[in-house]
């Protein structure tokens, strides 16, 4: 009994000593930085790909001209990060001129009335941080065809301290139904998938 009590005391003391000697768990990939940071999306370098994988046809696509701004309120605590990323519908391509025209037309993404697809991030939930890399959830409002839905995207962030630039990668799905995209006839579900897979690698440099 006496032995057990001594052992418990020793364990408590050891734990306290260990907690003092170990470095604090990192909560931000912006190691060594404090205060606000601001990044502008590098349109030339950013890659935005999408894929419709329907039973009768696989249609891949890309978008050029992705723009945006990412504001980190406090580099030591990125939870307050906000951002707005914009994809111009007119610069989305599917590998075929006629198909591009249709995709941008009124029955699909309606570029005339809604020229951009946007994702406005108002919160960032930090997950695992490993040095200058972090994973987490970007939470915000995703708008396509003029209709917005709340979305939480799993993202990976890598911060290049020497260049003061970040790379953000994410994969997610966008449902036509969520954004009131009706398409033409019964094409959605047979030749165009109801959900489009998006694969984005965003590069942004400090402003």
């Amino acid at each position: 009994m006496r032995f057990a009590s001594t052992a418990a005391r020793l364990a408590t003391v050891s734990a306290a000593l260990l907690s003092l000697s170990a470095p604090a768990l990192a909560s931000s990939p912006f190691a060594g930085k404090t205060g606000p940071l601001s990044f502008a999306v590098d349109s030339g370098k950013t890659q935005f790909k999408f894929l419709s994988d329907a039973p009768m046809e696989k249609v891949p696509g890309t978008a050029d001209g992705v723009t945006g701004e990412i504001k980190v309120a406090d580099a030591a605590d990125p939870a307050g990060t906000t951002a707005k990323i914009t994809v111009p519908v007119a610069k989305m391509k599917t590998g075929n001129d006629m198909r591009d025209k249709h995709m941008q037309g009124p029955e699909w993404l309606n570029a005339g009335a809604n020229p951009t697809i946007t994702f406005e991030i108002n919160k960032f939930e930090v997950g695992k941080v490993d040095g200058n890399r972090a994973s987490g959830k970007a939470i915000g409002k995703f708008t396509m065809n003029g209709k917005s839905v709340d979305k939480a995207l799993a993202v990976d962030i890598a911060y290049a301290a020497d260049k003061n630039a970040i790379k953000i990668t994410t994969k997610f799905k966008v449902s036509f139904k969520d954004h009131a995209v009706k398409g033409k006839g019964d094409i959605i579900g047979t030749k165009v998938s109801p959900e489009v897979e998006v694969d984005c690698t965003l590069y942004a440099a400090a402003k």
Partner: protein
């Protein structure tokens, strides 16, 4: 080598001449299969809702701009809540048809350049229920002019339980073989010793059945059995009497999506009354750029007539309504006790759509046979819905 060339050529001659217009290059630049846009799973002819939709805006100008507002406003080619699909193809050519001859004055006399209506084909498809449909088309110009073996009509019932499962067509059909080209004059489809008689005539069809199966994005399989009556009329040397004809085709559709590369590669076989036709086809396309297509067909008939034909075709899309195209073909035939046949063809031209659903195809054609050389410009035109 010669033998292989002949092999590839005959198969195409027999089987691929098509009644209506499928553009194989489109499958390669868009990465779509023929069945995505055509009611007929092997492509060509009546377009489905997607096929109509895909081409409804493809033109240098719009119908609205030339004052045809009603045509411009046509949003689809369907009626009765999508159950009925309708359309037509009208094709013709202005060309010198036939072979040059020696005139009485010792000068070469070329055939006159004349307009020739080739096809006027209204077509209907009716969706009876989710798995059964009926399709039919008729070509009234058949009664004006037709090739031996050409059918004035085709039509079939199609049973298609679901996407990804095999479908069955029953009726007057053309068995799938090689690429279904839109040009009726390909050497691939003809005997170099008798160019006026296509081995597989445009709009060829015989009664029978075909199973078409597209189980995945990258594979399609076709197998057919037809009663070879019209095929016998087209090439009596190949089929002496009405006999069953069996055919099969396998096509792989590899894509490199990140590079915008689409391709297909396949093989076909047809047997009938002791005659055999084998074919191979390959095509590669790059998004927004163009295509390279190759095909070879070899055949051997009961009388040991062998024909080997090859084709290489390159296209470059300047706009979705303007495409440059060039083609080289060679066909050789051999038969014991007879002289060899040989023909080479070069074609260069444009596929120009001044308006949606209207194509003009100015071309320069150079045909060199053992008997004559004929170089000429031609103009094909095509109006469709």
């Amino acid at each position: 080598m010669k033998r292989w060339v002949a092999l590839l050529s005959l198969a195409a001659t027999w089987l691929v001449a098509s009644s209506a217009v499928a553009l194989p290059r489109m499958t390669l630049t868009a990465g779509s299969r023929c069945s995505n846009c055509h009611v007929n799973p092997q492509g060509g002819g009546l377009r489905n809702d997607m096929g109509f939709y895909a081409m409804a805006q493809a033109g240098m100008a719009t119908w609205e701009q030339v004052g045809w507002q009603k045509f411009h406003d046509l949003s689809d080619n369907q009626a009765m809540d999508g159950r009925l699909t309708y359309g037509f193809d009208y094709r013709g050519v202005v060309a010198k048809l036939g072979a040059p001859r020696w005139g009485s004055d010792g000068q070469v006399v070329e055939p006159p350049r004349i307009p020739v209506p080739m096809q006027l084909t209204p077509a209907l498809a009716y969706k009876i229920n989710d798995w059964l449909s009926a399709t039919a088309s008729v070509n009234p110009l058949w009664w004006v002019h037709s090739y031996p073996g050409q059918s004035p009509a085709d039509g079939w019932l199609q049973i298609k339980p679901a996407i990804g499962l095999p479908s069955l067509r029953l009726g007057m059909i053309q068995p799938s073989f090689g690429i279904r080209h839109d040009d009726h004059t390909l050497l691939l489809r003809r005997n170099p010793k008798a160019l006026g008689q296509p081995l597989l005539p445009p709009a060829y069809a015989d009664p029978g059945a075909e199973v078409n199966w597209e189980p995945t994005h990258w594979l399609s399989l076709d197998a057919a059995a037809v009663w070879g009556h019209n095929l016998r009329l087209a090439d009596p040397q190949a089929i002496a009497a009405d006999k069953p004809v069996f055919s099969g085709r396998l096509t792989l559709w590899p894509q490199v999506l990140d590079w915008g590369i689409n391709s297909w590669v396949g093989a076909s076989a047809l047997v009938a009354d002791g005659s055999t036709v084998l074919g191979g086809h390959v095509g590669v396309g790059k998004n927004y750029w163009g295509t390279v297509i190759g095909e070879a067909v070899w055949s051997k008939t009961r009388g040991n007539r062998e024909i080997l034909s090859t084709l290489v075709q390159v296209s470059h899309a300047i706009k979705d309504w303007l495409v440059l195209e060039a083609r080289w073909e060679r066909s050789q035939s051999t038969q014991p006790g007879q002289s060899d046949g040989e023909a080479t063809s070069y074609v260069a031209g444009l596929q120009w759509m001044p308006l949606p659903n209207f194509e003009l195809r100015p071309e320069y054609r150079w045909l060199d046979t053992k008997d004559y050389l004929l170089a000429q410009y031609t103009l094909q035109f095509h109006l469709w819905l």
